[in-house]
Symmetry: C2
Subunit: 444 residues, 2 copies
């Protein structure tokens, strides 16, 4: 069932028992969409659903809607729903609400769950610990296949990984992993040790989530175990959590490059959009004023040769574009871990070479353009040389600005564009108008 009206009609017309039997066939994401698009009172619809399904709905809801959804229910029902949520889902929910509501929810948990949630809350939310779940299937290394199957039968089906079983020793140190598939095809007496994969790749609990995402992309795993310094297994990260991280990081990079707050939503309110964009425009205004001030130094020259004003947009535009090309390349290289300590000199050299070659090509084209437009060879030489210098500076600043920001632990995507454009605008105008001032006698 994927169609919105179908879903709502189904819930309205059936008994709770009928719903219970069929609800597994409606994906929570589709249910949420149907509920949002429906005029029905949400509580009337939701009341008929089982607790674990509502817990899934809360998990799949947007962060700012999770608590609203939960708040529809009575205190007692709320507690039952929360009990069905896995630790990382609960932590996501708690991260989206005020501290009073948070404390109330933690107090309502049983001791074990409260301990797990408090442990997860203690990790940096952007680290492996912050995105991992505590629900994984762990068995002891001395078990057999048969004992493992019995154990799986007894377990609640809440585990996040239905495809791997983790093998721990008595101190909870991770020894290996067993695929469900190997359990199925092995004889019952087989010791787990014989079918477990040792030496598996693990994630340290304090690893940054972006790095975690890179590891998932590199190896193509479905889930990975998270361990502490002693090798004790603390939780698992699954690929669906990682996909969220990747999407968020990409959006953040793109938005920051364009001067947008990463929290801004296309369907968000106008006031939030203004708050996201106006401050950035004001920062850019300051840099534009810097460029304007550079131009104003040469007003006396411009009065004499007004064609300089005509060519100003070409100087500024081309420098900005070339700088943005290098900048985007470098930011992407940093994000994907492709710009390393070993290759950084080579990449700088390459960018400078690109600046020299592109600068030469464009310098010649624009030089001829200037010569024909104004009818003066020296004017062509001035604009051509300025274009050449500006393109070289564009690639150099396109390289150094993000690298230096990264060194000072500032996200390169955040402020790089504004710095690079400032450099190319200010120096571009300075070279162009400065050269014109030096050669003014040959221009008029």
């Amino acid at each position: 069932m994927e169609h919105k009206s179908e879903i709502i009609d189904f819930i309205k017309s059936r008994t709770s028992l009928e719903i219970l039997q069929k609800i597994d066939e409606i994906h929570p994401v589709d249910f949420l969409e149907a509920l949002t698009g429906s005029d029905e009172d949400p509580l009337t619809i939701l009341e008929k659903l089982p607790d674990d399904y509502i817990a899934q709905l809360v998990d799949h809801a947007d962060d700012d809607e999770k608590y609203d959804l939960l708040s529809l229910f009575s205190q007692n029902r709320k507690q039952h729903i929360i009990a069905e949520m896995s630790s990382d889902e609960l932590v996501d929910l708690l991260g989206s609400i005020g501290s009073a509501e948070k404390d109330a929810i933690i107090l309502s948990l049983d001791q074990d769950d409260a301990n797990e949630v408090n442990e997860l809350l203690a990790y940096d939310p952007t680290s492996a610990g912050g995105i991992m779940a505590k629900e994984f299937i762990a068995i002891h290394e001395n078990m057999t296949v048969n004992a493992t199957i019995d154990f799986l039968r007894d377990m609640a089906p809440a585990s996040e990984t239905p495809y791997y079983v983790y093998v721990l020793d008595q101190f909870h140190v991770l020894k290996g992993v067993v695929r469900l598939r190997d359990i199925i095809v092995s004889t019952p007496e087989t010791p787990i040790k014989n079918i477990m994969i040792e030496n598996i790749i693990t994630i340290p609990v304090d690893m940054d989530q972006e790095e975690v995402a890179l590891i998932f992309e590199k190896y193509g795993f479905m889930a990975m175990p998270v361990i502490n310094d002693l090798g004790v297994m603390l939780g698992i990260v699954t690929v669906d959590d990682v996909m969220e991280v990747i999407r968020d990081e990409y959006t953040e990079d793109m938005f920051r490059l364009a001067g947008l707050d990463e929290e801004e939503k296309i369907s968000g309110s106008i006031s939030k959009a203004i708050k996201s964009r106006l401050p950035w425009l004001l920062v850019n205004l300051l840099t534009a004023i810097l460029a304007a001030a550079t131009v104003s130094l040469f007003e006396a020259t411009i009065v004499k040769i007004v064609a300089l004003a005509t060519f100003m947009p070409i100087v500024a535009g081309m420098g900005g574009n070339a700088g943005t090309q290098t900048l985007t390349m470098i930011i992407r290289g940093i994000a994907l871990g492709e710009l390393t300590f070993e290759n950084q000199k080579e990449i700088l050299k390459k960018e400078v070479a690109i600046g020299l070659i592109n600068g030469l090509c464009l310098g010649i084209v624009v030089g001829f353009l200037g010569y024909y437009w104004v009818g003066n060879v020296v004017f062509g030489l001035v604009i051509g040389t300025a274009m050449f210098l500006n393109l070289v500076i564009a690639t150099i600043s396109g390289y150094f600005v993000p690298v230096l920001l990264k060194k000072f632990k500032i996200d390169p995507a955040l402020a790089s564009a504004v710095f690079v454009t400032t450099v190319t605008d200010v120096l571009g105008f300075f070279f162009f108008l400065g050269l014109a001032t030096l050669t003014i006698n040959y221009l008029v």
Copy 2:
């Protein structure tokens, strides 16, 4: 084993049998890195490895290195390695080589494999059919759990999904899916029908890969079945393939916005970088010339009030920035499917409102700035009004340019930035210098 030197030493010092027993503990990705970083002759190292492991190495290698790796081996060994590759891996390899080599490889396959590969090659490489694999575990709906376990035991371990078993009827129409976990915890006599999930979400074979990625992100699945119009199951797409799609699409969007070819690599050659960037800079030069031509219309005015030249960078800069903000928002909204037919009018209204408000704020700030800088109220009014109009036009063109490109089936990320900047530059200068020309008697 993750360390490069450790891996190479291990291979060099051990017998083929010892290597065979331990090779599963070295991830192919790590092996490839070790091989690239090593001075050893690659063939000496690779010869000792089993065929299926070399097949994995070929699969994990970059597209342009796959065939080189394979070509190290004799014709006979090559054939054995290819036989170990899954259909989608083989199709990736074939997509990276010339048609003569391609035909030779297809001719060397047995009839079944050749049919599968030819089927996959017939699909658009950017569609679900182009990224799916033919290797999935399919059982008949009348089987029991016990029969399924026997079947799994007999199967070659090449399947791409070790976590789902697909249930088909006699016409290969997909009826449902069974989780391995449910197979383990059910009694042997249980009919598969009792534990299978029906009404599952499927992917049509001609769906675009970007849409496939959105569905994976939305639902968080590990693998999804691909079907044709009749419901016949054709293959599966797994989440690791989708992660590649997502990364490539994101890189493409970012690169195209910045005027870079999506194939350009940070560590690629200078000549490739020039080929990627110079054409784009030349396109931008044309639009910069358009802006310059607009300015040249007003040279007579600029000669009289040279402060106009000083304020030109502010007009162009702010319009470009505001346009890029809207543009990025809209491109992201299109990519994530958040800009729909239903909400597009509302979003346009919102963007216009943002343009009006930001334009008003910046118009006032820049207006006062102009007034103080030049010491003329009318100059302040002219630059303030021009700024206001430019910001409104920036948001409107930031909305319409990507939406129209999308309508004409051109990737909005590809050309939007250049169009939007052209509009804001040309109209920005036109309003600013035009207003100044109209009010020239009050300005001097």
